[in-house]
Symmetry: C2
């Protein structure tokens, strides 16, 4: 992993620690979605994991590989969402102290979830970047491991869900995967392109936070405005290690779509209708992306990554009111 790109063997080796602490997630076919897309549609349910999102696979793998000294010093990271919960969970199950920095204005629900998993949560700075820079400095001073969003061990860990897909449905033809910082998409690319080179891997990002998509198109690391409601897709800057994988000519993404936040909310509602599973905005991005290129999918075997389900009931109620027409009908 010296170049930050895990090998297929390293991803395979991650299955042991991951499977000790996490149940394998199902890949279910859905007739309703198949009709909607004119394809044979399967959903990989990463929302069924203990923390409700795929990232925990990476956290558990990373924590399982710490040296005794590193474990004693603890893990340090910055996050307001699923990444923080992932590292907190990994710390809990491996007996490693975890400190998560969040900005002063952090969502109290998310803070509570990290604390419930035993993490120490420290509020610092006006925004996420301020919190991150401060805690990275603290970690360096304490000699503790700072965990970034696309560290190689995280990519190897989340890549285990791609191994499961290729085992359950080796004949898959197209995989749609949401892209935030990109660790999930990297895992899918590395695994799928090596095990089944013909498979098409398509990334999906919000048009209100297109930094990674723009970087993929231009081949340079770009920043872009970040105005999406999709927490899991809210990336302002592309990360070099992820771009090396996603932009790779042999194992990179075949296409990279942008969808509107409105399309994400429509997709959340369609997933509730056809799968009875709640997705967060990022978790619905694969379906939103697939709907936007429906004509390319006719009759093909398509997997949608439902990457996470951590939507607040406040957001759900707003989406329900908008999507259902219940209010208008009364």
């Amino acid at each position: 992993m010296s170049d930050g790109i895990p090998s297929l063997d390293e991803i395979r080796a991650a299955r042991d620690p991951v499977s000790v602490h996490l149940k394998r997630t199902p890949l279910h076919p859905y007739p309703g979605l198949s009709k909607l897309l004119g394809a044979e549609v399967w959903v990989k349910h990463e929302n069924h994991l203990a923390t409700g999102a795929f990232k925990v696979r990476g956290g558990v793998h990373l924590a399982s590989r710490l040296s005794e000294r590193e474990r004693a010093a603890g893990l340090v990271t910055a996050s307001t969402g699923n990444h923080g919960q992932s590292i907190a969970f990994a710390g809990k199950v491996t007996g490693t102290a975890v400190t998560v920095a969040v900005p002063e204005v952090a969502n109290p629900e998310k803070v509570e979830a990290m604390r419930a998993l035993g993490a120490r949560v420290v509020h610092h700075g006006a925004d996420f970047d301020a919190a991150r820079e401060w805690i990275a400095g603290e970690a360096a001073r304490r000699g503790a491991r700072f965990v970034g969003p696309t560290d190689a061990e995280l990519i190897a860990g989340v890549g285990t869900y791609a191994l499961e897909i290729l085992e359950d449905l080796p004949e898959v033809e197209v995989i749609f995967v949401p892209v935030g910082a990109g660790s999930g998409a990297c895992g899918v690319c590395l695994v799928a392109k090596q095990l089944s080179p013909g498979v098409e891997v398509i990334g999906v990002q919000s048009e209100s936070a297109p930094a990674v998509q723009r970087s993929w198109r231009s081949g340079r690391l770009e920043e872009a405005p970040m105005r999406t409601r999709a927490e899991g897709l809210a990336t302002r800057v592309a990360h070099e290690s992820a771009m090396r994988i996603l932009g790779h000519p042999a194992h990179g993404l075949d296409d990279f779509l942008l969808v509107s936040d409105q399309a994400l909310e429509r997709a959340i509602w369609l997933l509730l209708e056809h799968t009875h599973n709640m997705a967060e905005h990022a978790g619905a991005a694969a379906l939103a992306g697939a709907l936007s290129v429906r004509e390319r999918l006719a009759g093909r075997k398509v997997v949608l990554i439902l990457s996470g389900g951590n939507l607040s009931t406040t957001a759900l109620a707003e989406i329900a009111a908008k999507q259902s027409g219940v209010i208008r009908a009364r």
Copy 2:
């Protein structure tokens, strides 16, 4: 199984066919629910199964035990809900023709789901009982197996989820289980009371369809008005085979609670908030029941059976509007 009561060994034997076709479901702890109930709360996610509800375990087990002659004649049942989908799924994976009778007014979404699984759906009669009586007669004439809601093979199949709970959390102290016809509760009683006699098993039914609860209290088979919105709890008559188990002095239910439909809808919303999983009304009954006896649970290890998640988006939108106060706040 000659007396309609499967033995522990028969339930254990059901694990093989069930695990061939269905993924083991997770049992997750939830800090938010634990706080709410003042207990250590775990949820058994039967909503994660391919059909979104526990019953499919019973269908798969029953279909796996058919003789060649029975398989050739096909399976016949009546249902408008999860039972019909369960038998349809079982028929599909075992290559057995399935016919499901539904009343003329059946929910088209449910009919579509059964057809998508390859079942032949026949509309007949003004209500469910008319459909059931007619198709049972047809089955007898054709020499096909009619599958009732609490056949012993179904109870043995659904009992496999109780085995999984006792393996994952042997120290469980209280299990709350929703009761419709009663097959799920029977499975939990038979397994838990034999493997861990001290465990308390508490059934929950809607006060708007209390036939089984009243029968349990009186010791006689009773009918009761059925006005609940909870499809999975909508039972008008108690079944003798289920009552023999649920009312048994050694392995029966320890208590049997009634909750209002309003309490079920509140519990659906609380499950969305704290677990990010959507439950149908019956699937939320365990939480609603636990909330009604909160004072008895202090500090105990409690498992709630989330039996199914097949709620329509129409119902979800109404619940969201009522529970969230979004409308009032605007």
